[in-house]
Amino acid sequence: MKITRISVYHVDLPLEHPYWLSGGRLKFEVLDATIVKIETDAGVTGWGEGTPWGHTYVPAHGPGIRAGIETMAPFVMGLDPRKVLEVERAMDLSLPGHLYAKSPIDMACWDIAGKVAGMPIADLMGAGSRTPKPIASSVGAKTIEETRDVMERYRSRGYVAHSVKIGGNVERDIARVQDVESIRKPGEIVLYDVNRGWTRQQALRVMSACENLNVMFEQPGETLDDIAAIRNKHASPVSLDECLVTLQDATRAARDGLAELFGIKLNRVGGLTKAARIRDVALSHGIDMFVMATGGSVLADAEALHLAATIPDDNCFAVWACQDMLTVDIAGGRGPRNIDGHLHLPEEPGLGVEPDESTLGDPVAVYGAEA
């Protein structure tokens, strides 16, 4: 089987509510999604998606995905898409770095491999847990009252996992953590996500003040060096998110004991093939995981769900449903959807969801055999 054609679509996914990133970074209202269709000489088609969370969050942007695919396309054309490592090596050789541009191709190859095998991707990867995965909420409120309101809204929809955004103001952060802990229900999972918003002194002050609450913080500093520098001065479990990009980041964090949790975001780390190695580093070092898309449609959520399903249930805390933040649906309600705050693994072979091509518009680029 050979890859014969790669079609690239650019789709704007409007957010229901405009999003402001912390630290005065740009507000954005639309996610720039790149949808990739890979066709083969065997008539099997695979779909991939790469949707960065804007261009101010991590080193990734939509036009960069499309430019990267333009550069890599001649090198993956003709390869067997089921041989995902060969495709990965061809991409890594033709374009060093730029993992975010590689993930949609990797995802489409896994979709094809699953379809050919007649198995969901997670099963093909070796273990597809059918336990519904809790979806983490995204609580971006600023005050105690707003935080309570937003959490209550999510709870009423069945959510048991929450990512509460903090950072930027030590006293307010302490007060919000204390309040959320005072209303946290048994069994609820709460991660306090700093999104790199603390300097070292801010991190130590909040973490010390909250020590008796036994809570977890995500990305409590800008870099791995920042997180390492405070490691021995606080007692809180730490989750790595933005600065967990490469396998080397994961091995350093595991070896040096920099994190007790990994937030694996598929687009950022370069897709399922690379993410699976980070998963294994985590599992072999007693590190639990959150698995998510960086953003995007039900396709991106489904990709993350497949990886999450390959993790033992006890070691995977939650996934995400970015699809619920969008006003458009490119898959007509198909695929894994929010059911009482959980996603259920699709039983169809491959990814388990395909987009409606009519919602994608014309491809912005086609590589390989002409239609």
Binding site: L26, H61, P63, L93, P96
Partner: protein, 181 residues
């Protein structure tokens, strides 16, 4: 001073000798991206980035979309004193430093022109009048590499870099090193 316009060119540069490196990486023609930044005072600055294909996390096709992404920050901004504006670009598009480098160069060009000084004066002053070039020798037949080194030596080159590993044969790599040496 305000930036009024960005103009980008993609220029194919063909080398005198095809460049072979390890892992099957080859360069014959490479695309370079040339940038001109125009201002409302009539001063213009030039920048360039020419990523070697398949070599580092940098590629010519990635430069144009990244600069397009950053154009809204650049247009109307003050180009003099590049670091302030470069910090804004870092916040707007995370990393992608190779795509930012031609902008940085062009901003320094404008800043130096505005100051009426060669750029080195703004960067700390001139310490050397002449800087030696080095010559990079593509990984081909050992005798051919030795000939290239001699030719370059005759032209005044005294520093050399020899590429190895293109044919995955360590004994030939040893021969290459001995002969070039």
């Amino acid at each position: 001073m305000k930036i009024t316009r960005l103009t980008l060119w993609k220029v194919a540069l063909t080398s005198h000798e095809t460049y072979y490196m390890a892992s099957g990486k080859t360069c014959d023609t490479v695309d370079t991206i040339v940038l001109r930044i125009d201002t409302d005072e009539g001063l213009s600055g030039w920048g360039e980035v020419c990523p070697i294909p398949h070599y580092l996390p940098a590629y010519a096709n990635g430069v144009l979309p990244a600069i397009e992404e950053m154009a809204s920050v650049l247009l109307g901004a003050d180009p003099v004193g590049p670091e302030a504006l470069m910090a804004k670009l870092d916040a707007h598009l995370v990393d992608h430093r190779y795509a930012k480098s031609p902008i940085d160069i062009a901003l320094w060009d404008i800043t130096a022109k505005k100051a009426g000084l060669p750029l080195y004066s703004l960067l700390g002053g001139k310490r050397q009048e002449h800087l030696p070039l080095y010559h990079s020798i593509t990984c081909v037949e050992p005798d051919e590499m030795a000939r290239m080194a001699k030719d370059a030596h005759a032209k005044g080159m005294r520093q050399f870099q020899a590429k190895l590993g293109a044919d995955n044969d360590w004994q030939r790599d040893v021969e290459r090193l001995k002969k070039v040496r």
